[in-house]
Amino acid sequence: MNPEYKEIFTTLHNLGKQGEYYRLVTNAQLLNCVKEKSSLDIKSARKKIVDYTKKALTGSGLILKSHGNREILTIQRPLDRCFTGFLFPIIRNQNSLDAADDNYIDGDAHIGGDGYTGGDGHIDEDDHIDGDDHIDGDGYIDGDDHIDEDDYIDGDSEIKKRG
């Protein structure tokens, strides 16, 4: 937050007048804010988009609730909200497959993609085998509404019971 606004905010907050502060910002001081922001050149505007996306994807921009000096992630698990920039623990006894293993048939091994043609028709050149037909081993589908935590779907698309 702009330090100037933060000072006003703190004062009004202490007086229990958050709503008043917000009106101030959105009405009068918003003009300054808009002026400040519109002076951004396009390049820095673009940087803001990229920075926001980076933070959102890595989870470094996650909005955490403060409880005293502790920061809490609510609603969802960290791995449901962080998509890159992390290192996994080693999983023991796992018959694993390396990411770049050739046993994965490259799902993109087609030529020419869409085969979009000008002549007298097109061929769908998409008859490839998709090597990624498995769903991730850990079995949760999404956020907090994973289907059944005791089920996981493995690389051969078989549903197994854990444990």
Binding site: T53, H67, G85, G118
Partner: protein
Amino acid sequence: MKKGKRYIPPSSAGFSFFITGEHILLRVYYDAVCYKKIPEQERDDRGQFLPRQWEKIPLSDGGVEVEFSPESQVQHIVFNGKARIDALWRRYRTGYIVTITMSNNQNIDDEKNGKEFIEEQNEKTLFNVVLHAIVESGQVGIYPSKNRAFLTDEEKEVALRYKDLHIYAVGHGAAADWAFNKQGKMEIKVDFIPTVEVPQLTASTGSGDDTPLIFAFLKMCEGEKHHEILHSLTLFVSNYAGWIEAQSRRAAHEDDEEDKKTAQSIIEKQHLAHNRMRRGVELLQKSRNARIAFATMNRAMLLQWISNDRNRGIEKKESQYRWRPFQLAFILMVLESVVNEESQYRDTLDLIWFPTGGGKTEAYLGVMAFLFIYRRLAYPASYGGTVAIMRYTLRLLTSQQFIRANKVISALELIRRENGELFGREPFSTGLWVGGATSPNTYYQAVKMAEDGQFNKLVISSCPWCDAPFSKKNYIAGNDRFHFTCTNPLCDFGKNPKNLLPCNIVDEALYQNPPTLLIATVDKFARLTWEERAAAFFGLNGNRPPELIVQDELHLISNALGSIVGLYEVAIDTVLITRGMRSKYIASTATIKNAKQQIRTLFGRDVAVFPPSGIRCDDSYFAKSVPLNEKPGRLYVGYLAPLLSRQRCLEPLAAILLSAPIEVFGDMEAHMDRWWTQIVYHGSLKGVGNSRTLYQSGIPYLLERVTVENLKNEIEKFFPGFTDDKKLVTIDDFNRVADVEVKGIVEKYPLRDLNVNVLTSNQSAVENNQVFMALEKGRGESGAVDVALATNMISVGLDVSRLAMMIINGQPLTTAEYIQASSRVGRGETPGIVFVNYYKTQARSLSHYENFRSYHDAFYRFVEPSSLTPFTYQARSRALHAALIIALRYGNIGLLTNDSAGEFDRDNQAVRKVIKEMKRRCAVAVHYGQEEIERVHLHIDELVDGWRERADYCRANRIKLVFNSKDRSFDNLICNFNEENGLWPTLQSMRNVENSALVKLFGKVRREQQ
């Protein structure tokens, strides 16, 4: 039951680099956080119950470092044993290749049940990982790459051009980035979301004197002022010579003898281009016809630009309309070889090699306009018919370019009408010759479309000259005719009583009146085997055959398509030569490698690339890199989700990007639209289908979650604790909040209702065009597009200036495709962002991710050579017979008509001559040696024998042999691949190179039976 294998996300990430020095010391900075599940009933320091969720635990308090040197320990355990930092030192030449990695040291037992496993996995994962190596002492050297001794001459030239762009590190499990820090020390780091800004190239170059570029100046070339104009052109050319001299001086300072030699070879090509440009100016000095043609061409270009701007309400001075330097230079360079059949460079294919959006089309439209006029002046008795053939690979691009070329042709036609005596009675015209899916092939189809009001299927929906929209009355369709007319009385065409426009799209109309400029898809030429009427395009009724063949987007003529095209080219070239014309070939592309071999195989010609490159990649005189501080480049961002499957990894990226404009520019309407529309590129139709599903379910769900998070954050700034209410989960919940102040904030976070469109070959041309038009609409306009899911059909031809955001969903197969596709955004005022979504299980994706910076710093360097093999047995067996038939049917030797197939006589002198020419043409293109040439010749002989035997058999049995007929009493020489009523199954389109088969599944196959 077989134990399943499953993917395990990486536990380590790092980078490698090469370092030398007597005392090497690295300081490695690292950081991460983890999350700990809060048990029930735990309270915070104020005694409040904590929500049963996850607490963020910083693992280091910042600034923690470990040191490494070749002599020191190679491992540090960090974060209280949770992780380790390793350094692997390998001796290499005078230094070391060092690999620094951070690894998660914690284990999970796979035997745990699902819930426990997931929670432990979340607790033991290290998040927001940071790993930097600061080189305290020692020199980081260029990362070792391919030995130069193994490079071809072309690769050496490429290596020299990119000599100043160094690769210092490669990533492992992530990308690597490097830079000098404020203390001047090299800092190398792990980068999970790498970014590289690629500078734009500009065609606005030259000496600064723009006079010779101005159309209005050059159009005076035919009059008294021609000396002044020629002088100006001479100066224009000599300025280039001056730059070449500077290049020579620079080459002399290369520190490596091999580089000096390579630089010299580049400079020789520059000299060659310069000499040819000089010869172009000399031609203008010597030939009045050339001067008139040059002046008229410039006048036509000027008129079409003025008309274009007038239609958009823009008024400019005539002097503001001008060539880009490379366009004029190219025209000057090819002039002589275009008009002189005996020119030393007639058999050289001139390849315009310029980045997308640079103006290649105008350059060869200029050459064509020049030739159209020149031919009328030089050959008044035989100028008619088709003069140039322009070919494209994609139907979308073909119709776009047809509309574009119509402008120039219309301008020429208006000029001709003023000067009928000089330029002849036959109108200049354009014809679109493509498949039935894009334009009607018969009068009957055209009549039906016009009657049914399906005007959008008639390609042109407004006057090419005045832009007045068409209605039914503008389409004159009958059983034996089809025309476009303009009825706008203010239009130069509309005010004429005949008001016919000089363009046509119906095949039958084109066969009747072959257009001056024929615009076609390469596929359509497969029809030559079947269609005798197409002979009209090769010079009938005493007209000269076409003199110029233009192939746009050359890089797309590759692989299977390229191999088949290569054989049909043999036929077309043979026909033209048999008819007495050595046509000039021009091609264009933005991405090419190994052009020499590709052109030789495809067109049987030498190649001259224009503009020749400079000895460094940032300056070829006619194209220069624009420094990033002057103009933003295109920003590439890499992303790989190690946990998500190929089907789902797009989800978070797409949702977050969709939320970005509102979150980042909530109160800045001007910026809001800039990155509003997402173009999502896919390598396959299947990918589009998969993404479509995501955009219907997963992405909107995640988008709402992210929007709610952002909204809560904003509300909490002003009303702390307000969002603790557990009933506030969705945007709808927030919309129901009564508090006026909070409502004010909620209104700033609308949930986007996604308008998702698709651009694929599964859609009709009309549907795709509608999407293209919708893409022009800005945020808030009715029908504005939020997301367009596209296949590689957008890689060429999509030119919407407001588009600035693209997701490349999966690394495309080739760099050429990657460059072409990603160049579709950021073409206007807003600089582009290209997010590349890499797949965790795809080796190609991982490799590009780990080498993100080095790849993007110089990606033109990595353009792959095209592969095409027309003379392999497999390709020959598909299409060599078709080439033979075309050569003989169109060779003007009496075998054109359908019923003449039976008259084939291999001993006929004319037939022998055509076959000899065809063999010669094949031999020029085959580059595997004499043995291969003999194999091709033998194959031609076998085909000839086969045809003769069939003809003999039919004669003996009194059966009529035709090329193809549905009449069962006839015998067919050719038939479709799925039929058996002919000697040779033959292609209808050059894409259909493989047989298709129907697969029928009978019920389920039980797993035990497998």
